[in-house]
Symmetry: C2
Subunit: 452 residues, 2 copies
């Protein structure tokens, strides 16, 4: 019996038009990653649950898709376990779907540490799965594009990641603001005010200053439990003005008593100097409100926003000092960023920035007006393809109208009409389907014309 | 606590070198698919179990990887279900991982039938998952590369698929034999001998004739229950000699009384004539022993074997007349083939046919001999990349020996040595790491040299 076909909620099919647009994004990103000497890796969709569990917090554990053991998964299961859903799922599931590309990468590095050349510069473009509640722009299956270097503490890596971001969005013709912060500076701030627990409140306040003004921010900080002394220390931070380098200078006296804070300012200064030295087309901004993944990052923090579209961050990342420690390889520093392909897709669509030629596809279609005509056309079709031209022949003998319709729906720009006359005259009738212009050509001329 | 990292059995990590080789295969196949006017689609890794169950036989159902429902999967489950593993897994799993690309394609076509332009020519290159017992060359996660056209009965499609196979293996420099059969001919044979149940035995016998000889094959057929009359009818089929067209002629009188058999011979004749007309570089052979997926195919059957490597079929497919019927869209004919990327990989490795340049990667690395030198090098490195040259800079300031080691391990052919002298002289020392040759160059000359 026929069933009405559907796919699991939060997942998507991609047809030819979407694929062409997605490939345009992936190929652009991949091309830049390669240009900077990063190499691709791929890891399995399924990881052992022990690799994944506990790496994304309690909430993350719940969002893992678990894969039932193959074979007789439930045999020997005690019925008392039915009251303990968690314990039961651990018993019958030993594998889970990849939740991100970072943990599998850490696992990969540790597992293959003897085959890897360090510093290891890798990129990885693969789907990940999360059992999130699906909503607009949030999917249960989506691609991540990660680029990381592991085994190097050099800030040249931070520079190169900023250059990669700059190049990718330059190529995609999206204006962005690249925001940079440093975890050590945030640690320094919490150190000098003596409120390490209030760090999130402070970064939120810094973020709000432009919208609600200094007084409202101060009020908010008071309500969050910061005393006057602490707020006085923070005030200059809320009021930072000027260039990135000027802002850093203004921070110096504030964090002077904090060793880690000063180290963070040193790092930021070096990164901004390197950026200045090589020149970056996109805007680069020190943003002390940037705090993504606080528990995770230990140095630089990056976030990228499109300037001409309302959209969350389309790219982000940072430096981590002990990613591989959980798998038994401690003290290896790395830094990386991840491009959000789905959001970049939406930005390009909103700004109408997909190149019109990006659907690619067929350049020319040969008609099918009968057996004889097809036999005459086929060897020439072969030569056309050998010249690298994407070409088709209409496979059914049918009314020309229908063949035009097919060409039209597929946006094929040229048609080679092959009728009795052409067979007799050893020629081809090339029609430009956009202008309506027709030319009668010999085989060599035809190929020449199509190669233009 | 550190855990020793591993991945689920039957799955694989791919490092940079394997990725380069795999991309070489995928890009070659993808390039030819595109050239013939086929468009890519992608479907989700997870399908509803109802889409997958019952499509691959009882054995296939067991090999599906099932994904546990998210949330509290086991709540409200009756303990009596614990004795019925199957029923329980159906209750707690509504999704499964894609088992092949054919069923998801059929589901896609039916679900999107109103957006699709028919005949729909699509290709799909994605991983599939099967809970098979892992062994050499058999994995639980592997890529399939499928190309199908649906909504066309024209035998031009069969021709084009043969041309695609021809082109792909020509590009990969693998000599193959393309074997062709037709399901209707096999039906015809079983019709004329009156033993439809013995079809598999007969195709196995045809396959063995060269190895064990006519008498032994006849004996085997007798032991399988075929009477003398049936064997007498089959004997000329076992003894077929000559060209493909000659073989077809010899089959004509044998299948004269079978309408379906004669239709099959007509189809084969047309396909071989079309192939003759366009010219195919690889060997094409009528093989009446070819019976893959008997229940599935309704017309042409294809199989491709590498001639210079011991390996099963590296490509196969055929025509099916009712693939989409299970999802409510009956009577749509399609034909397609699937390339086995893993086996093609092994053949290329065995025959040492991977192009030496295919690892790609970095062409030049700049040394890091100190802060000043790096600041001098970085803008030039940027220009080198802008010229499209894959380039790196060694990120740590360290002994030159270590930097040479890195270049060597990554097979980087050129190094730009930037020391005090170069900074003073506004020049660059380009070293060919294969020949040892060194040149002192200005920036423009350096880029020119590297572009060669």
């Amino acid at each position: 019996m026929a069933q009405k076909p559907s796919i699991p909620k939060g997942t998507r099919d991609f047809g030819p038009a979407e694929m062409a647009r997605r490939d345009y994004i992936f190929n652009t990103i991949r091309g830049i990653f390669k240009l900077y000497g990063y190499s691709p890796i791929e890891t399995p969709a399924m990881e052992n649950l022990s690799t994944l569990l506990g790496k994304y917090g309690e909430e993350g554990d719940k969002l893992l898709f678990k894969v039932l053991n193959s074979g007789d998964a439930f045999s020997g299961i005690d019925s008392s376990l039915l009251n303990n859903s968690n314990a039961l799922s651990v018993k019958v599931c030993e594998k889970g779907l990849r939740y991100d590309l970072t943990v599998p990468f850490a696992r990969f590095v540790v597992q293959h540490q003897n085959e890897i050349v360090f510093p290891f510069k890798r990129y990885q473009i693969q789907p990940v799965w999360r059992a999130d509640r699906p909503q607009k722009g949030r999917y249960r299956e989506f691609y991540q594009c990660d680029v990381d270097v592991i085994g190097s503490k050099s800030l040249i890596n931070e520079l190169e990641l900023v250059q990669i971001v700059d190049s990718v969005f330059h190529k995609l013709d999206i204006s962005v603001c690249i925001k940079i912060n440093n975890r050590k500076v945030l640690s320094g701030i919490s150190e000098v005010i003596g409120h390490p627990d209030k760090l999130i409140d402070i970064t939120i306040a810094i973020d709000k200053i432009d919208k609600i003004g200094l007084d409202a921010v101060k009020e908010e900080l008071t309500s969050k439990g910061l005393d006057e002394k602490a707020i006085n220390i923070i005030e200059p931070i809320l009021n930072l003005k000027g260039t990135n380098i000027e802002k850093l200078s203004a921070m110096r006296p504030i964090l002077a008593s904090s060793e880690i804070g000063t180290a963070g300012l040193d790092e930021l200064e070096t990164v901004f100097e390197l950026i200045e030295k090589v020149g970056i087309g996109q805007e680069v901004e020190l943003d002390l409100s940037l705090a993504r993944g606080l528990n995770y990052y230990t140095g630089a923090i990056f976030e990228v926003k499109a300037k001409d579209a309302e959209m969350g961050s389309i790219c982000g990342g940072g430096r981590y000092d002990d990613l591989t420690g959980i798998f038994g390889l401690p003290d290896v520093s790395g830094v990386g960023i991840s491009f959000g392909a789905d959001r970049i897709y939406d930005v390009l669509l909103t700004l109408d920035k997909f190149p019109s030629g990006s659907v690619g596809g067929t350049k020319v279609i040969f008609t099918n007006l009968g057996e004889n005509e097809v036999l005459y056309a086929l060897p020439v079709l072969k030569s056309v393809r050998e010249a690298g031209i994407v070409a088709e022949i209409y496979t059914e003998k049918t009314k020309l109208k229908k063949q035009f319709d097919y060409a039209d729906k597929k946006s094929i720009p040229y048609m080679v009409i092959v009728g009795e006359d052409e067979v007799k005259g050893s020629c081809f009738n090339l029609k430009n389907l956009l202008t309506g212009e027709q030319q009668t050509l010999a085989k060599e001329q035809l190929i020449e014309q199509l190669q233009k």
